[in-house]
């Protein structure tokens, strides 16, 4: 199976792998404008040069109670809109082979919804997540 570049990051205290095709850039987010009444995972809006991005609190998007204090974000584009997905730390970018989740593994809560499989780094399994699954959509909200 062909290898694919993955970004290894820490989200909500867990190490995850993100398909590099989904990643446009990695930035540090400046001041964020809150969006009152928006869904909880929406931290707000931030300016990225002349572009306005919607900042998504990945921890909240995963249904966790915590509130990410991270300033670092992965920029991804979904349906023509740009989102900044907050990540705690970025560790590595490396090619890996995507494997299916082993049979019988039942992931907790929203992790299951975002999981796409796993990669193995030096024998350590890392969950591959789909960023677009973490962006709350209007369809899901209603």
């Amino acid at each position: 199976m062909a290898q694919q570049l993955y970004l290894i990051a820490e989200v909500a205290g867990r190490t995850v792998a993100i398909d590099s095709d989904q990643v446009e850039s990695v930035v540090d987010i400046g001041e964020v404008t809150a969006v009152p009444r928006a869904a909880k995972p929406v931290r707000g809006l931030a300016a990225l040069r002349s572009r306005v991005v919607t900042v998504v609190d990945t921890e909240a998007a995963l249904g966790l109670n915590g509130c990410s204090l991270a300033r670092r974000a992965v920029i991804t584009q979904i349906d023509g809109h740009h989102y900044a997905m907050l990540v705690d730390t970025l560790e590595d970018v490396a090619p890996f082979e995507l494997r299916p989740l082993a049979a019988g593994i039942a992931l907790e809560g929203s992790w299951r919804h975002a999981a796409r499989g796993l990669v193995e780094r030096d024998g350590e399994p890392i969950l591959v997540i789909d960023l677009s699954a973490l962006v709350p959509t209007s369809a899901l909200l209603s």
Partner: protein, 770 residues
């Protein structure tokens, strides 16, 4: 308008260039459908644009060619060499005229009639002259949108970089020379931004400004009268969108005037105002621009749409009937379906609505239809807002700033202001601004961000569709032109934002959607809508009758319907003569019968109402005209025919309304028209008929004679007693001396005026009926 013309020239020139190959190919292969369609689209577009730009010559040419091509498309005509040549002639001519317009040169229109005539079936083949090109160097270029987009985002970057630079420089000591340089940079960047923005954005006025003329001409051509109302011309829209919207808008408006708005007589019969109303408006709502075209015409006959479509065999009538109402209405966008069968210059041949739909789909927009049969049709085109610049007010709430489109703001007042009252109505705050009561929304509460600032709040009165409400905010900060971009779906899902923007501060800001906030807060204005609508209808249905109030000669105050009064004039008593039993007024070199109630009483001067009805004229003497009033619709009619038509209540006073018809009936001099029925008097030995009956007959509108001129035939013969009628061809009415008729006698007693006239009319009528 010049911009539009330039665009039209550039576009036509470009299409012509692309088309020249097609035309040649079509010439060699006239049954090639794709080529035919390409040429058809070209002339159709030219026709549409010409109507818009008021270029009648081009329009006539294009329309003629379009007609012929449509016939070819329908298979009604075979494209022979003569036809191809004629069409090519027209296309060439269009090119020549366009070049002439661009060069500002005059081009004589000789030969155009010939070109059009050559399109007719069976006409002679024409010799194509070699087109003479006289192209002027163009001052406009066409650019790809991508390039403009890159320029636009580069510009935004530059603004932000300048802001950053300025911030850094000002944080420390700054050399005045550097400061001046920065100042100049700022100024240039600001100007550049405006210019660059203008390359991409255009006021929708560019789309709306030619409409008044177009509506007037279109309506005039159909013998209709249409009042156009335009709103929201200053909404800015992407140029690309404006280009795409142009043709659909023209189609929709022409359709509305041609098919929607009824002829004046029909409107009157339906109890509407004679002049149709057409309202074209643009507004921003959420992340879209809504262009609305509403008319108060007859609406769409959905049943007819279904029948026509079923008849064309696309789907069975049962299938179509099973569709939900909204889907049935959408059938009007079905290709090749025009709800009217008559092909007219105005709205073409049904290429309209499906083309409209296709264009709007292309830009990701959608069309909403709101049809009220008999009352009108409202078409709302929702255009997605890719990018727009709006003038906005920046307000503060909590620790945040928000923008509100200026367009939706009616006014801004302080809550401590004069004539402002805030009350709690059962727990709901309401505001009374100068007597106008409206609901109040606290932005801080709505957004759950609390209050930061102290002091009085500001009330921003915003319109939200049908009603208005007061939005309480902490502060009103600024007035800015903002580039609005759509926010991500998750932000839009809140329903209270219209988009996002990046002001010069570099910190993103949200644009509030006033209608959305009202919806989220549960404010319901639908009742207002009904009330407003009801008011308008009531006003229109009973407009009352405008009338002139006057004091009559006999001292009575009367009213006369204004429509009957040609003018009021002062005349001298010497112009009035009592002659031949009635008063007559000599005026304007003519003698006009003068009617009056009361006496002239030796007045030297008097006022007269000149009453006119077609060619009949009567003057009515009055004491004094007072004012124009509106009579209520219900007038109590008088019990017997006479000078009063009835009594109306005007400002609590009972006013007699003059019966204009009665005045005409009693006073107009009867002049027998040349085609009046001829009545022959027969057996008038003692001259009784000629003396006594003749005036009666003439007053009743007959021509009377005692001897027939050669070739004349009477319509009826009036015979005294037993006199033998000279011409047996005409019906005969006999007069008898005795009051009582004997059995089988159909004669009329000679003093029975009414009976005589009735008998004459009946006999003539019988003859005519035979």
């Amino acid at each position: 308008m010049d911009d539009l013309l330039q665009d039209f020239i550039a576009e036509t020139r470009e299409t012509l260039e692309a088309l020249s190959g097609e035309i040649v190919a079509w010439e060699s292969q006239p049954d090639d459908r794709a080529r035919l369609d390409a040429i058809f689209r070209f002339v159709h577009t030219v026709k549409g644009s010409c109507g818009f730009l008021d270029l009648p010559r081009l329009e006539r040419l294009a329309h003629a060619a379009e007609d012929v091509l449509a016939q070819v498309r329908d298979g009604a005509r075979v494209p022979d060499r003569a036809l191809v040549n004629a069409v090519l002639g027209v296309v060439d001519r269009i090119g020549e005229i366009v070049e002439a317009i661009d060069a500002g040169a005059a081009l004589d229109d000789s030969g155009e009639e010939l070109l059009i005539a050559a399109l007719a079936e069976g006409s002679e083949e024409i010799v194509l002259p070699t087109p003479v090109t006289q192209r002027a160097p163009s001052r406009s270029v066409r650019l790809g949108v991508d390039l403009l987009d890159r320029m636009m985002s580069g510009m935004s970057e530059m603004v932000l970089a300048r802001n950053e630079l300025a911030r850094r420089l000002r944080s420390g000591e700054i050399d005045p020379a550097v400061e001046a340089a920065l100042e100049r940079l700022s100024l240039t960047v600001g100007e550049m931004r405006d210019t660059v923005t203008r390359t991409r954005m255009q006021k929708i006025d560019a789309l709306f400004s030619p409409l008044p003329r177009m509506v007037r001409d279109t309506a005039g051509g159909l013998g209709k009268s249409v009042a156009l109302q335009i709103e929201g011309s200053d909404v800015e829209l992407d140029r690309e969108m404006i280009e795409v919207m142009r043709d659909p808008l023209v189609h929709i408006i022409r359709n509305a005037i041609d098919h929607g708005i009824e002829a004046p007589a029909e409107r009157r019969a339906a109890g509407k105002r004679e002049a149709g109303r057409l309202c074209v408006s643009a507004r921003q709502s959420g992340n879209q621009i809504i262009i609305e075209i509403a008319d108060d015409g007859r609406g769409v006959n959905v049943e007819r749409l279904v029948q026509k479509l079923a008849a064309s065999g696309v789907r069975s009538e049962r299938d179509l009937h099973a569709l939900p109402d909204a889907a049935k209405l959408e059938l009007m966008f079905h290709p090749g379906l025009s709800s009217k069968d008559i092909v007219s210059e105005i709205s073409g041949r049904g290429v309209g609505m499906d083309v409209v739909k296709a264009s709007i789909d292309q830009i990701g927009g959608r069309v909403e239809l709101d049809n009220i049969p008999g009352k009108g049709l409202r078409i709302a085109i929702h255009v997605p807002l890719t990018l727009s610049i709006i003038s906005a007010i920046v307000i503060g709430a909590g620790r945040q700033r928000f923008a509100i489109p200026r367009q939706s703001i009616e006014e801004i007042v302080s809550e401590r202001g004069e004539a402002i009252r805030i009350d709690q109505l059962g727990g709901t705050p309401i505001v009374t601004v100068r007597g106008r009561r409206m609901p109040m929304l606290d932005l801080g509460e709505l957004l759950d961000i609390g209050r930061e600032a102290q002091g009085p709040r500001m009330l921003v009165i915003v319109g939200a569709g049908a009603g208005s409400y007061a939005l309480a905010v902490d502060s009103v900060l600024d007035n800015e032109e903002l580039v609005i971009k759509p926010a991500s779906p998750v932000v839009m899902a809140t329903g209270i934002y219209a988009g996002q923007t990046l002001p010069d501060s570099g910190l993103p800001m949200l644009l509030l959607d006033s209608a959305g906030m009202a919806r989220v807060a549960g404010l319901d204005f639908s009742r207002d809508l009904n009330a407003a609508f009801g008011d308008v209808v009531a006003e229109e249905v009973a407009p009352g009758l405008p009338a002139l109030l006057f004091d009559d000669l006999d001292g009575v105050r009367r009213a006369v319907p204004l429509a009957a009064v040609d003018r009021v004039e002062k005349v001298s008593a010497s112009q009035v003569q009592l002659a031949a039993g009635s008063y007559r007024l000599a005026i304007d070199g003519r003698i006009v019968p003068l009617a009056m109630q009361g006496a002239l009483d030796g007045r030297e001067r008097l006022s007269v109402l000149r009453l006119k009805d077609e060619d009949a004229e009567v003057a009515y003497a009055i004491d004094e005209a007072i004012e124009i009033v509106t009579l209520p619709a219900d007038i109590s009619p008088s019990r017997s025919p006479g000078p009063a038509a009835g009594v109306a209540l005007v400002e609590g006073e009972q006013i007699e309304v003059l019966d204009v018809l009665w005045v005409f009936d009693m006073h107009v001099d009867r002049i027998a028209a040349a085609d009046a029925p001829l009545c022959l008097l027969a057996g008038d030995k003692d001259g009784w008929l000629a003396t006594f009956v003749r005036p009666l007959l003439e007053t009743a509108g007959y021509r009377v004679t005692t001897t027939l001129a050669p070739g004349e035939t009477p319509a009826v013969v009036l015979a005294a007693d037993a006199a033998e009628p000279p011409t047996p061809a005409a019906p005969v009415v006999r007069l008898r001396r005795k009051r009582q008729a004997e059995a089988g006698d159909d004669s009329v007693y000679r003093y029975d005026r009414a009976g005589l006239l009735f008998a004459l009319e009946a006999r003539i009528g019988m003859r005519g009926g035979r």
